[in-house]
């Protein structure tokens, strides 16, 4: 059963009605609802298309945060083989908000690292809603460094509201851990590819997304601050998140125009969660192409390419 977002309410009504009719027909053999249900289906399909044709930035934030959206774990399971999780930062703990380990992509060994938000109450708590502590970033640093030494491409899957704002996280150096992770991203002489699969939340995302290639799913968002946070600071009213989402230019389309994202990966109609399999295939195809683009580059070239990419960002703005 799909969970509908607020703006999908009219769609929920139509799809609900069609579902109801079919349920009635199942319990009453004499009823013929096929035509009526088909008409509703058609109406729903049209509405879905209309709703998703031109999503506002705030609606994209909601889609990006949809609880049923495929998460890091799903992509790892679907796109990789022999996934072998590697745990711990060798200092303090293993942070379950960050998944990572060795795996094969099209038989090629790689290091895959990503934020995992969890998919039900229990797993969300286990994974701290995808909000990493310093140990998560230090685990990533360890895995990236190892990948660099063994010549394995690194693939990061970004999906986080942001780094965890907690007492222990601060005491153990959240800032330093994020800074070191970004630094390691820039240092390694192997292809580093990042896909923003849902939310790219501020520094907690940058720490994984300082990559040779940054791809974003069509309805993913990537921002310096959440629209709610921005609204409460600049509008002094957290309810102004629609305006803030608009102003922040956080959509994949805007980020592509700003050269922050290198490519947009199309999502199935109605968002990745409506047809996860189509999303998996689209991400797989994009990863394959990006790996091929970087395949012939030497370690020094990869490092230079990454530096140049980021130093060049900001040389153009957006039209009004």
């Amino acid at each position: 059963m799909t969970q509908y977002l607020e703006f999908e309410k009219p769609l929920a009504e139509i799809e609900g009605k069609a579902e109801e009719l079919r349920a009635m027909a199942r319990s009453n053999e004499e009823m013929d609802v096929d035509d009526e249900a088909a008409a509703l289906d058609k109406k729903a399909a049209q509405l879905l298309q209309d709703l998703y044709k031109d999503l506002t930035p705030w609606r994209k934030c909601q889609v990006a945060r949809h609880p049923e959206r495929p998460h890091c774990r799903d992509y790892i399971n679907e796109l990789f083989t022999e996934y072998t999780p590697l745990a711990g930062d060798r200092n303090f703990a293993d942070d379950l908000a960050v998944m990572g380990g060795l795996a094969r992509f099209n038989d090629q060994p790689v290091m895959v690292i990503g934020h995992e938000k969890g998919s039900d109450t229990k797993s969300r708590i286990t994974h701290n809603f995808g909000m990493a502590r310093p140990e998560g970033y230090r685990k990533a640093v360890r895995l990236m460094e190892m990948a660099g030494r063994f010549g394995l491409p690194v693939i990061t899957l970004v999906d986080t509201t942001g780094a965890y704002p907690g007492k222990g996280a601060e005491e153990r150096g959240q800032s330093e851990a994020i800074a070191r992770s970004t630094e390691m991203c820039l240092k390694i002489g192997v292809p580093l590819i990042s896909v923003i699969i849902g939310e790219g939340g501020s520094g907690g995302a940058v720490a994984f997304a300082t990559a040779n290639r940054v791809a974003m799913l069509e309805h993913a968002v990537y921002s310096v601050i959440s629209p709610e946070g921005c609204a409460s600071i600049l509008w002094k009213d957290a309810e102004k998140m629609r305006e803030a989402a608009e102003a922040l230019r956080l959509t994949a389309q805007d980020l592509k125009a700003l050269d922050v994202a290198d490519r947009i990966i199309p999502e199935p109609l109605g968002g990745a969660h409506r047809h996860p399999d189509a999303s998996f295939r689209a991400v797989e195809a994009a990863l394959r192409e990006m790996l091929a683009e970087l395949g012939d580059m030497k370690p020094a070239e990869l490092i230079a390419d990454r530096r140049k990419k980021f130093l060049d960002i900001g040389s153009k703005g957006l039209a009004a």
Partner: protein, 317 residues
Amino acid sequence: MNWITNYVRPRINSIFSRREVPENLWKKCDECGTMLFHRELSDNQNVCTNCGHHMHITPRDRFEALFDAGVFAEVKVPEPVVDPLKFRDQKRYPDRMRAAQKKTGEKEAMLVATGEIGRTPIVACAQDFSFMGGSMGMYVGNAIIAAAQEAVKLHRPLVLFSAAGGARMQEGILSLMQMPRTTVAVQMLKEAGLPYIVVLTHPTTGGVTASYAMLGDVHISEPNALICFAGPRVIEQTIREKLPDGFQRAEYLLDHGMLDRVVARTEMRAELITIIRMLLNLPPQVHGDLPAPEPVAAIENVETPSEPVATAETKPE
């Protein structure tokens, strides 16, 4: 433009052009409430002479106190695209910029300069908290990159004074991208074998702390400075408990291993000279106002310092 206009003569400049002097001869310490005579306070680098509380200081005033005889040359920072997102909240971003420029008399939130401290040539940059909360946007990123490039070119250490509420929201994702961009700047220094000293001042938070401010060879902070990734209010809302006294203050970070030292602003110059000269393998600072030693003659009798250091030390401006 005449090159000499780049140089700032400190005392004269501060007497004739400081805007707040006429109406505010006295300033109240935010901490202990003592009324302090403006001149006395500025002579003490805005540190309360009664309780030692460190008040805000502008980059320009800081540099005047830091550099030998208060003399420094500004380094030009490449201009970024203005208002790249056409950002508008309750005000338009260009209007906020103009207001900040008028208030501070500065173009942007970071000043980059070259000069000498204790006859040790350095590059320094300082963030201006009074300019839109010191926020890190493209200009600040460009400033740090320019500072690092200048340091590499002149083969000098970089001293960075951080002060910021975080990234500049009005530049959206482009402000966030200053985290990797400034990290590249730090890497340039490290690859060139140059010391990178960070002086964290009140407050240093958010994406600034989580990038260039936490990647120094040596981290020094001014007393009681707030230094954090997430601010205390955000944390209290998240964990729903009261935070301990002094949480995220300089001394607390020192206890938790994030800083090397907490040093009073009035001692900072001497501290920086000592540390930098050791890192550069230079002899101790010569105290007193002696004429600069003849580089060639001086080197003959003592152990020869390593090649690039000698170049930096004797390079004419």
